[in-house]
């Protein structure tokens, strides 16, 4: 109803109650504690290129619904927020994992937060947020309060995905799924491990995965696994930013970690097969479990 008697109906001229649908359910105020932003800009997927141009397709492949941008400032400094809202939590996690690399520092504010000087990235449900400092030396810790405030305003996160779903893949034999509560594969370092058999180009291997509740625990698993590899007499050991592995009893294996997720390959017949399986699993994890 536009007119109510001789007066215009004010309800007609105010935004509809579902206006926040335009921002995929994420609404932030312009003031958060000591932090202020002059404007919040919502770009739906088809307009994300206006902020990130050639990078937009990267987030689209993870099911981005849009990008919420805001330039926050406070006495502590100025940080830009790029909040990607995905269709679901697996898409957000995929983008978060795909952009990670070994040089990141992890924080205890939430399990899925990482950063470097001038940067803090976080994952919360279907949202993947990037806070980027205008000043390069700004420590990520200087923006954790803003991050916490933003996260508090995001939709509640659904329960953690069952890790076994991470192993649903065309190369994996569905009936081979196993679960080890402790001492998986004889390693004291590996607990609550899901594993399954996979075949790629006629080369078989075992894929395994576990999710931990915090970064310190995940890092400790990698450290203890490395020690056990050495103790058990592994040969051709290798380590890099992403993985540690080697040859044990004629088979190749490795363990990799991204944030609180640890995953790996065992029983590969060659280094080439190990690499192929690792890349396949890594690629699969970055894109989320197969429904």
């Amino acid at each position: 109803m536009v007119w109510r008697g001789a007066q215009a109906d004010p309800a007609y001229f105010t935004p509809p109650a579902d206006a926040e649908v335009a921002t995929a359910g994420v609404t932030l105020p312009k003031v958060l504690g000591v932090w202020q932003t002059p404007a919040l800009e919502w770009l739906p997927a088809e307009r994300m290129f206006e902020r990130i141009d050639g990078r937009a397709s990267f987030y689209e492949q993870f099911g981005a619904r849009g990008l919420l941008y805001a330039g926050w400032s406070s006495p502590a400094g100025a940080w830009d927020l790029y909040l990607y809202v995905m269709n679901d939590a697996t898409g957000a996690r995929g983008a978060f994992l795909a952009e990670a690399n070994g040089a990141n520092q992890h924080f205890s504010l939430k399990p899925h937060i990482r950063g470097t000087p001038g940067t803090l990235f976080f994952l919360h449900g279907a949202a993947y947020g990037q806070l980027i400092a205008v000043q390069p030396a700004a420590p990520p810790s200087s923006v954790t309060d803003l991050t916490a405030r933003i996260i508090a305003l995001l939709p509640a996160v659904a329960d953690e995905i069952d890790p076994s779903t991470y192993l649903r893949h065309p190369a994996v034999a569905a009936d081979s799924l196993e679960y080890s509560e402790a001492d998986a594969f004889g390693y004291q370092s590996l607990a609550r491990i899901y594993s399954a058999q996979a075949v790629l180009q006629e080369e078989s291997a075992t894929w395994f995965i576990a999710t931990l509740s915090n970064h310190a625990g995940a890092a400790d698993v990698v450290r203890r696994y490395t020690e056990e590899l050495r103790t058990f007499g592994a040969t051709d050991m290798f380590t890099n930013d992403y993985a540690v592995g080697g040859q044990m009893l004629g088979a190749w294996e490795l363990l990799a970690r991204t944030n609180t997720i640890i995953y790996g390959i065992r029983d590969a017949g060659s280094h080439t097969a190990l690499t192929q399986h690792w890349h396949a699993l890594q690629h699969h994890l970055q894109r989320g479990p197969t429904p």
Partner: protein, 326 residues
């Protein structure tokens, strides 16, 4: 032969009908104009603007790679090795400098050209007695990008002027022969200029592998240019045909080696400590791709541009190829 009756023969009804039709047409065209202006989809002009090559005769096929930790010193050393800026820019020249200022990110994230490299290029040009303007057409707010990237400050302190894009500066322009034959481009600055110098940065690109010299000309395009990402290699080869620069200063001081072209994390940036200066876009970009760990065959537009005669993949085939330390 059928003749149109003279106006005097029209009835009042016909006149009113024609007047109403004319008014409707005027309203329609006015409305369309409003839509176009707001969407910046400027209707194509009947004649295409052609951008003439900016190369200086006798300077083709040259490249110098300078290594060290001071970006400005590397620019000076490499340009000096090529005979000095005065070999490329003369007093009275109007020089258009095109850095990569595509995003409003601070310089340490490697998504934009290093301010110290751009500043030195501008300074060297100004010192020749030329008028120097710096431009780029980011999709974000242009001034915001120039401010946050540090490129506005660098330009002004070096004695140059910033030329921010505005709708009136765009015209339909001839581009290349592969994918984009014509596009709404930042033509007015290019027509104004007597010399063009590209100052791209070295960075990864999730669609084409590497964003370097040729990809940097993308910033001369307007309109809905993200459509070009569908055939990005062909589009970049077109851009290499579009601009034949006077000189290119490829900035590899800090390289965005992952998650380009935007990046966002200092962990994705590696010190390159190198600047390559030259006139062969293909050779320069092949070198830039190597810096990112990419072989030429992994970056399809390099081969395409070489096939089109833009330059050579093998820098050993250049007429001048030197390496210096500074």
């Amino acid at each position: 032969m059928k003749e149109t009756p003279p106006p005097a023969a029209w009835t009042r009804r016909e006149l009113l009908q024609r007047a109403a039709g004319a008014a409707a047409l005027a309203a329609l065209s006015g409305g369309a104009g409003w839509v176009f202006r707001n969407r910046r989809l400027v209707p194509p002009s009947r004649t295409l603007t052609t951008i003439t090559p900016f190369a200086v005769p006798g300077t083709a096929s040259e490249m110098v790679i300078a290594r060290g930790t001071d970006g400005a010193a590397l620019v000076r050393a490499a340009v000096a090795e090529l005979g000095g800026m005065q070999r490329f820019v003369k007093p009275g020249d109007r020089v258009l400098v095109k850095p990569n200022c595509a995003f409003d990110r601070p310089p340490h994230l490697g998504a934009t050209t290093s301010p110290e490299v751009l500043g030195e290029v501008v300074r060297l040009c100004v010192a020749t007695g030329a008028m120097v303007r710096v431009t780029d057409n980011p999709i974000n707010d242009a001034e915001g990008c120039f401010v946050k990237s540090g490129l506005k400050d660098a330009t002004i302190k070096a004695g140059g002027e910033l030329w921010l894009p505005a709708p009136a500066l765009f015209r339909m322009t001839r581009i290349g022969t592969q994918k984009i034959t014509a596009w709404d481009a930042l033509a007015t600055p290019l027509v104004w200029a007597t010399k063009v110098i590209g100052v791209p940065t070295v960075k990864s690109h999730n669609l084409c592998g590497a964003s370097l010299t040729m990809k940097n000309w993308y910033g001369f395009l307007g309109n809905a240019r993200s459509r070009l990402h569908q055939s990005i290699h062909e589009a970049i080869a077109d851009l290499a045909q579009f601009i034949t620069p006077t000189l290119v200063v490829l900035d590899g001081m800090r390289m965005l080696v992952r998650n380009g072209p935007t990046g966002g994390s200092a962990a994705d940036v590696m010190p390159g400590n190198v600047v390559a200066v030259g006139t062969d876009q293909v050779a320069l970009d092949t070198f830039g791709a190597e810096l990112l760990g990419l072989a030429p065959q992994e970056v399809a537009y390099l081969g395409l541009a070489a096939q089109l005669g833009v330059g050579v993949l093998d820098r050993a085939k250049l007429r001048i190829m030197k390496e210096v330390r500074a």
